[in-house]
Amino acid sequence: MAEAKLKVVMAGPHVSVQDGGRKGQMRFGVPASGPMDRRAFAIANAALGNPLSVPAIEVSMLGLTLDCIAGSVTFAVCGGEFRVQLGSETIGSWAVATLREGDRLAIGMGPWGTWCTLAFAGTFKATSWLGSVATHSLSGFGGGKITTGQELVIKDAQLRAHRERPIVPPDWTRPEVEPRVVLGPQTRFFAPETIEAFLAAKFSLTDSYDRMGVRLKGPALPPEGALSIPSEPIVRGSIQVSGDGVASALLADHGTTGGYPKIATMLDDDVSSFAQNRPRGEVQFRAITPEAAVRLARERAARQAGFLERLAGGR
């Protein structure tokens, strides 16, 4: 079977192997991990005609440069707005193209976005843990970080010329500046005026940002008497407030329990577009009811499924 070999010339921090994630293990301290932007990840695989959650590379803001040293393979890049160079040619940030022996693919920081997916028409070989290659950044379990000098192997590498084209990213793949939240589960530790301040203010993301979460800058949200709460379960998208009133958003590689109160929790789908904001980008959280949150989740899922279906079927 055809094989393509890619040499990593430069990998920024937090570039890692991901797949659809490792679900169902939170009770053992294992978050699902998987892509920071699940939508872009699914779009990249759909554009190639792949199943939506097969292994791919998640590229961080500081980019990735690869040399194709053997074989050739069609690939897709999706997510954010990165600068993508294939050989001497600049291709769109959202595109399907083919990498041939001797080509260099350079994905670098562009005007917006923090994470992008590089998917392949073939089987990207990576180490699996608990049935998934998704990298858990704290432990390094799973496929692992992509590092400079490493050689990547795509088995059954295919050329899918009929899929080569720019992809028009839908509006909903832009960074979300008004992430929807449901308040709680620990609002009882915050005075009503603190919750008001949380919803009225703009928060900016800080440089303290990785796959586990991002610290936010904004008004202090002092919790009341919460320093001794027993550690409680955490989900992706929790907005946790430490004892000094500083909020953080917990993301793909979040701890599964923790003793700080959570003032609000982002809708699962909003976590993807929230994560495309960059440090110093501003967001304002919008509270909705749990019922509205479920309705929105269903509408969004239908909209995304429709887009992915058209893209996967499109020739």
């Binding site: 009770r27 301290g29 027993p230």
Partner: protein, 236 residues
């Protein structure tokens, strides 16, 4: 809002996909037993769209697929499970976990003894006498919180965390005992090290303990530690 109790929990919606079922606000056996019972009941009778549950000290998070169900339906299912007569809780397993309390594995043992006004042997004996239960996992894969450290050797965490504490260290703070699975920075007191792997590497049973299991520590020498795992049946 009235405080939740083991018989009258508080149920709070989380985002579009989960509920937090709270049986208390402070750590206690009754609240944790209620967590374990609901966890077991959900395993036996999951609702439509059930994804997974995360048990913690006093509450259980129930995660669900919002495309299939919603908060109200899951809450009704959970309340139904609470209302039924007490079902048989599957018997927790008892694990014997080997610990070596010798140098260089026990960097804080002397200080724990000094702070508590005991001899080192008394601290070790107290630690061995504890009846430990896996309360929950958190922080990192396989990072199990074991409740049951006897009062005689309980200490608050150190003021400053210490870097590069090795995986497998047996550490105590307050009523808890932990064996980290990764090298970490921590303010817990390191009194020994265990050769037992909580991340087993066995795909059919990747985590040695289930939440609710009981642990009995067993003292081994540094020689036993070095030999551990070379004989069959050395695990568990």
């Amino acid at each position: 809002m009235p405080a939740p109790t083991p018989t009258s929990p508080r149920i709070i919606p989380i985002a579009d996909h989960a509920l937090l079922v709270e049986f208390g606000e402070t750590i206690g056996e009754a609240a944790h037993d209620a967590v374990l019972q609901l966890d077991q009941a959900l395993t036996d009778q999951p609702c439509q769209g059930f994804s997974e549950a995360i048990p913690a000290f006093v509450n259980l998070l129930v995660d669900f697929d919002p495309l299939v169900t919603d908060h109200a339906a899951v809450e009704a299912h959970v309340r139904g499970l609470l209302g039924t007569t007490r079902r048989v809780v599957h018997a927790p397993r008892l694990h014997e976990v080997a610990v070596c309390y010798e140098a260089p594995f026990s960097r804080d043992l002397d200080e724990v003894a000094e702070r508590k006004g005991h001899t080192v042997e008394t601290v070790i004996a107290a630690h061995l006498l504890g009846d430990y239960q896996v309360s929950m996992y958190g922080f990192a894969p396989g990072y199990a919180y074991l409740a049951g450290t006897p009062e005689a050797i309980q200490l608050d965490r150190k003021l400053q965390p210490v870097r590069d504490i090795e995986a497998g260290s047996v550490m105590i703070a307050g009523p808890m005992c932990i064996m980290p699975t990764l090298t970490m920075q921590t303010g817990w007191w390191v009194i020994g090290r265990s050769p037992v792997k909580v991340l087993t590497g066995d795909p059919t049973r990747p985590f040695l303990f289930d939440v609710g299991d009981r642990i009995q520590f067993k003292r081994i020498s540094a020689d036993d530690f070095a030999r551990f795992g070379t004989q069959a049946g050395g695990h568990g």
